[in-house]
C-alpha cells in the first residue's frame, strides 16, 4: 500500500511520465502475487494480475478488456458499477467489499473481499481503479456451513425440550391419575431413556426411622432391573446433607476434608449424577444416574431434566406416603367406629347423621346401621332433647367452640332412660371450613344413679342433722368450724351453717369462753377419747347466759386419723332453771314446814305447860294462879286457831283462785282504800295517788288482798310520824308493770329485806300482826307471775314495796 501511495505521489509530480507509469503499473499488476486488476473509468478490466488470472481460471480470458458483469448477478453488477463511480467521483478508496462471483455453470461461486483504490493522473483526475481482492471463498463456505450447523443444533435443542416437556406432561398425567408407585418408577425410567443415554437409574428412598436408604427401583437402561435392595453409599448421604443435585464428570471427584485429611468420595461410575428428592423439609430419597462410556455420558442439560423429573417423583412418593397414612387413619377410624364402646357420631351442618359407631347402631337395635344415615336426633329422641342437641350443634358450627362433657338424660326409642355424657366438636375440613360436628357420648347412668343415691343419702343425713333437736358442730384440728347443723347456726346468730364454716370460737358470741372450749377440744383430740355429757355455760347470740349439756368426741376420717372433733350440745337452761326453781321451792317448803311445826308447837307447848301448872295450882289451892293459867291456855288456843286459819288461807292461794281477767287496778285500789277508810281516818294517813293505775290481768279479789295488806302494813309501821303519807303509783318497763306503795314510816333495815316476806316472821314481838300478811302478798304476786321487793333507806326513812305484774296482752 505504501508503494501505491508513493506511486501516487510520483504521479502527481511527473505528468510527462504518465504513460510510462501506467505501463509500469500494468506490469507490476500483472506480476503481483496477489489478485489485482485494473479497471478503466468505464469499469472495463484492462489488466489482471497473474494471481487474479489463476483465481478466475478459464474465465480470465473472457473478462479481459470487459467488465466483470458476466460473473455477477444483476444486482451485484449494478452495485459494482455504483461503487466504481463513487470511487472516481470521490477519489477515495472503498474497502471491505464482499462479493460473490459466479464461477461456473454448476453454480460454484467465488467469494472475494475487495478493495477499490482510485488511480490519479498528474492532473488529479481518476484514470483507473485498482481492485485488490482476497479470496475468502473457503472461509465463507465454512461460515455458511457453520451457520447451517448452528441451525441444526437449535432445532435439536427445541426437539429435546419438546421431548422433555412431553415427559413432564406424561409424568404429571400419571401423577394425577394416581398411578401405582412402581409403575411410576417404570414410567420415569422409560421416559428418561428417551432422552437420556445413561447406563443406570436408581431411585433410593430414605427411611427416616433407621436413617437408611432403600433402593426401591434400580435398572439399567438396557432394561434390566436390580429390584429392591438396601444400599449404603457415602455419596447419597453427602447429597442428602447438601440438599443440592450433583453432577460429576469422568475426572471429577468430590473432595472432602475430614479431620484435616483430604479424601475423595468414592464414585461408582465415570459419570455420576445425584438429585435429592424432598417434600417440604422431609427427605424422600435420591435419584442417581451413572454412565461409564463416552456415548452414554450426560451433561448439565440432562441434570436439568432429571431435576424436573425428580420433582414429580417427589410429589408421587409423598402423595403415596400421604395416601398410606390416610389409609392407615381410615383403617383406624373404621376400627374405632366398629369396636369403640362409647358412641361416636359425625353429623353434617344440618345435624344429620353421616357416620356413627357400631355401638350407636347397637344402642338403637338397628340391624342395618345405614338406616340412620341422613336422619337427625328428631327421628330418635323426644322433641325437647332433640331441640336441645340441635341448638348445641348449631352453636358449635357457628362459633367453632366445642361442647365438652355435657350430661343429659336421653329417652331412647325403646323407652329406656339413660344418662349420657357427651362432648361435641366442630368438624373442620382441610380448608378449615366447618363441615358439621362430631361427638362422643358415653353412658353415665350408673354413675348418675349412684350420685343421686348419694345426694339422697346426703340430703337425708343433712335432714337428720338439722332436725335432730340438739346443736351439732365439728371443727378441724386448729379449732376452725368445718360445719354445723341449723340449730347450732341459729344459736350462734348465723342464718345458715355455711356462714359458720371457717370461723373459730373467738368469732362467736361466746368468744369469752373460747379458750375453755378449745382446751376441751384439744383434750378430746389429743387423748382420742370422748368427753360426754358435761354441763357448761355459754353466751348465746342474744347475749344470754345459757346452760349446755355438751358431749365432744374425736372426729376421724376414713383412714381412722383424727382430723378434728365433733360436738353436740343441748340447751338445758330451762331444765337448769326448773331445777333451781325446784330447789328454791324445796327450800321454801322446808322453811314452811319448819316454821309451821315450830309455830304450831309453840302454843301447844304453852297450853300443855299451863294445864300442868293448872293442876299444880288447883292442888295447892292457888285460886289466882288458876285463873291466870286458864286465861293463858285460852289465849294460846286462840293463837293456834288463828295460825291454822292463816295457813289454810295461804295454801288456798294458787289452788283456789278466781279466773284471771282484765281488771282496772285503779278500781281495785280505790275499793280497798274505801274499805280501809276507817283506820286511815283514825291514823290521819294521807293517801296520794299520782297516776290512774292501768289495767292488769289478774284475780281481782286476790289483788285486793295484796293492796289491803300492803296499805295496812304501811299504816301499822308509821311509828310516830306526825304527817303519815302513803303514796301509790306505777311505772312501765318492756315487759312489766311495776306498782309501788311508799310510806314515810319507820323504815326497815336492809338485812331484813328478804326475811320480812317469810312466813310468821315478825320483826318485832310487840308489833301487831302474825307475820303472815307479807307472806300472803308474796304468794299472790308469784301466782300472778310477778315478783315483790322492798326498799328502804333505813330507820325512819320510810319503806317502799314494789311489785311487778306482766303487761296484759293487747287484744
Amino acid at each position: 500500500m505504501g508503494k501505491t501511495s508513493s506511486v501516487s505521489e510520483k504521479g502527481k509530480t511527473a505528468v510527462s511520465e504518465d504513460d510510462f507509469n501506467i505501463s509500469l503499473y500494468k506490469d507490476i499488476v500483472e506480476s503481483a502475487p496477489i489478485p489485482i486488476w485494473i479497471k478503466d473509468t468505464d469499469s472495463r478490466i484492462i489488466r489482471l494480475s497473474k494471481a487474479a488470472g489463476e483465481l478466475f481460471g478459464k474465465m480470465a480470458s473472457d473478462i479481459r478488456g470487459r467488465s466483470l458483469d458476466i460473473l455477477l448477478s444483476k444486482a451485484d453488477a449494478d452495485q459494482s458499477r455504483k461503487e466504481d463511480r463513487a470511487v472516481i467521483r470521490s477519489k477515495k478508496p472503498i474497502l471491505n467489499i464482499f462479493r460473490t462471483f459466479r464461477y461456473d455453470d454448476h453454480g460454484k461461486s467465488l467469494v472475494l473481499q475487495l478493495k477499490k483504490v482510485p488511480l490519479l493522473d498528474h492532473k488529479g483526475k481518476v484514470t483507473h481503479i485498482i481492485v485488490y481482492a482476497t479470496n475468502i471463498t473457503e472461509q465463507h463456505e465454512q461460515e455458511a456451513l457453520l451457520k447451517k450447523k448452528e441451525g441444526e443444533t437449535l432445532k435439536r435443542e427445541a426437539e429435546y425440550k419438546e421431548i422433555r416437556n412431553k415427559i413432564v406432561h406424561d409424568l404429571s398425567d400419571a401423577l394425577v391419575a394416581s398411578m401405582p408407585l412402581n409403575d411410576y418408577y417404570s414410567l420415569v425410567h422409560t421416559s428418561l431413556s428417551r432422552i437420556m443415554p445413561a447406563d443406570n437409574l436408581c431411585i433410593a428412598l430414605y427411611k427416616k426411622e433407621d436413617k437408611s436408604f432403600t433402593c426401591s427401583y434400580c435398572t439399567s437402561f438396557k432394561g434390566k432391573a436390580f429390584g429392591k435392595q438396601s444400599i449404603d453409599c457415602g455419596m447419597l448421604e453427602f447429597i442428602m446433607k447438601k440438599k443440592k443435585p450433583i453432577l460429576l464428570g469422568r475426572d471429577e471427584f468430590i473432595a472432602v476434608v475430614r479431620k484435616n485429611k483430604l479424601t475423595y468420595k468414592e464414585k461408582i461410575s465415570d459419570w455420576w449424577m445425584g438429585i435429592p428428592m424432598r417434600s417440604g423439609n422431609d427427605h424422600l430419597g435420591i435419584i442417581t444416574l451413572t454412565a461409564n462410556s463416552e456415548d452414554r455420558k450426560f451433561d448439565s442439560n440432562a441434570l436439568e431434566t432429571v431435576i424436573l423429573v425428580s420433582n414429580l417423583l417427589a410429589v408421587a412418593i409423598s402423595k403415596k406416603n400421604t395416601e398410606e397414612k390416610l389409609a392407615q387413619q381410615l383403617d383406624f377410624l373404621n376400627s374405632l367406629m366398629e369396636n369403640f364402646q362409647d358412641m361416636i357420631y359425625v353429623k353434617d351442618r344440618d345435624s344429620k347423621f353421616i357416620r356413627f359407631s357400631k355401638s350407636y347402631a347397637n344402642r338403637l337395635n338397628l340391624s342395618d346401621p345405614s338406616l340412620i344415615a341422613g336422619k337427625t336426633d328428631f327421628d330418635i329422641f323426644n322433641d325437647a332433647h332433640a331441640r336441645d342437641a340441635f341448638a348445641d350443634e348449631q352453636r358449635i358450627i357457628q362459633t367453632g367452640i366445642p361442647l365438652i362433657g355435657k350430661d343429659s338424660l336421653e329417652i331412647w326409642p325403646d323407652g329406656s332412660r339413660r344418662w349420657s355424657n357427651s362432648s361435641k366438636m366442630p368438624w373442620h375440613n382441610a380448608a378449615g371450613e366447618v363441615m358439621g360436628t362430631f361427638g362422643i357420648s358415653y353412658d353415665i347412668t350408673a354413675r348418675v344413679l349412684a350420685e343421686e343415691e348419694l345426694k339422697k343419702s346426703k340430703a337425708m343425713l343433712e335432714a337428720v342433722l338439722n332436725y335432730i333437736p340438739v346443736s351439732v358442730f365439728w371443727k378441724d384440728k386448729d379449732g376452725n368450724y368445718m360445719g354445723c347443723n341449723n340449730i347450732f347456726a341459729a344459736m350462734s346468730g348465723f342464718e345458715n351453717p355455711a356462714q359458720v364454716i371457717g370461723k373459730t370460737d373467738f368469732d362467736m358470741p361466746w368468744h369469752s369462753h373460747a379458750e375453755a372450749y378449745r382446751s376441751d377440744d384439744k383434750e378430746v383430740m389429743e387423748n382420742a377419747s370422748a368427753k360426754m355429757n358435761f354441763e357448761e355455760m355459754q353466751t348465746n347470740a342474744e347475749g344470754r347466759q345459757v346452760w349446755l349439756l355438751t358431749s365432744k368426741v374425736p372426729l376421724r376420717n376414713v383412714e381412722d386419723e383424727i382430723i378434728g372433733m365433733l360436738g353436740t350440745y343441748d340447751d338445758i337452761t330451762p331444765q337448769k332453771e326448773k331445777e333451781a326453781e325446784l330447789k328454791s321451792k324445796n327450800e321454801e317448803l322446808e322453811r314452811f314446814t319448819y316454821t309451821v311445826s315450830h309455830d304450831l308447837k309453840s302454843p301447844l307447848f304453852t297450853i300443855k305447860g299451863f294445864v300442868g301448872l293448872l293442876e299444880e295450882d288447883i292442888a295447892s289451892g292457888d285460886a289466882e294462879n288458876v285463873r291466870i293459867n286458864i286465861l293463858r291456855i285460852k289465849a294460846a288456843a286462840d293463837k293456834m286457831s288463828n295460825l291454822l286459819n292463816n295457813l289454810l288461807e295461804l295454801s288456798r292461794v294458787g289452788r283456789f283462785n278466781n279466773p284471771f281477767v282484765k281488771v282496772s287496778m285503779d278500781k281495785i285500789v280505790r275499793d280497798t282504800i274505801d274499805s280501809l277508810s276507817g283506820i286511815l281516818k283514825q291514823k290521819k294517813v294521807q293517801l296520794v295517788q299520782s297516776d290512774t293505775l292501768p289495767e292488769v290481768f289478774a284475780d281481782s279479789q286476790r289483788m285486793a288482798e295484796v293492796w289491803q295488806n300492803l296499805i295496812e302494813n304501811s299504816v301499822k309501821f308509821m311509828g310516830n310520824q306526825p304527817y303519815p303519807v302513803i303514796k301509790i303509783g306505777y311505772s312501765i318497763s318492756d315487759k312489766f308493770l311495776e306498782f309501788y306503795i311508799r310510806d314515810n314510816g319507820i323504815g326497815i333495815d336492809k338485812k331484813y329485806f328478804d326475811t320480812i316476806f317469810g312466813l310468821f316472821n315478825k320483826l318485832d314481838n310487840k308489833s301487831e300482826g302474825t307475820g303472815f300478811g307479807l307472806a300472803l302478798v308474796k304468794r299472790i304476786i308469784e301466782i300472778h307471775d310477778g315478783s315483790i321487793r322492798v326498799e328502804s333507806a333505813g330507820k325512819d326513812q320510810g319503806t317502799t314495796f314494789l311489785f311487778t305484774l306482766p303487761k296484759p296482752k293487747r287484744k
Binding site: S597, H598, F605, T606, G609, G612, R632, A635, A636
Partner: protein, 145 residues
Amino acid sequence: MKTIQGEPISILLVEDNVDHAHLVMRKLKSFQVANRIVHLEDGEAALLYLAKAKKDKNLPHIILLDLRIPKVDGLEVLRLVKTNPDYMDIPIVVLTTSDAETDIARAYHLHANSYLVKPVNFINFTELMEILGFYWICWNKNPYH
C-alpha cells in the same frame, strides 16, 4: 343462893314467848334462882344486856337461849357470844321447840354447850327442868368471872 359448891348463880333467859318464859322460870323456882333470872324477849336486847353486864362485871353464869327470836336470831346471838372473847366462856344451853336437824347441827357448830328441846308433855318438861337445874345450876362447874 349457892350451888352445891356454894357458888351464887345468875341466869340469862332469852325467850320471845312470855308464856314459855313463865313456864321455864316457874319450874326453875325450886332452885331458888328466881331473882337471879333475867328474861329478855329478843336477840338485840340480849346482846345489849351482855354488853352492859360486862361493864358492870355482872355477866350471867349461864344463858338459856331460844332460837326463834325477833330482831337478832338465836343462832346469830350464839355466834356473836361464842366469837366474842368477853363472853365465849359463858355456857349456852339452847332451849327451843325446834328439833330440826339443821338447827341442832348449826347450834353445835357455833359451839353451843347443850341443846335441849322443850318437851310438849308437861311431866317431861318438868323433869327436864329439874335435870337442867341440877346439872347446870348445881353440878356444873362454871367459869369464874
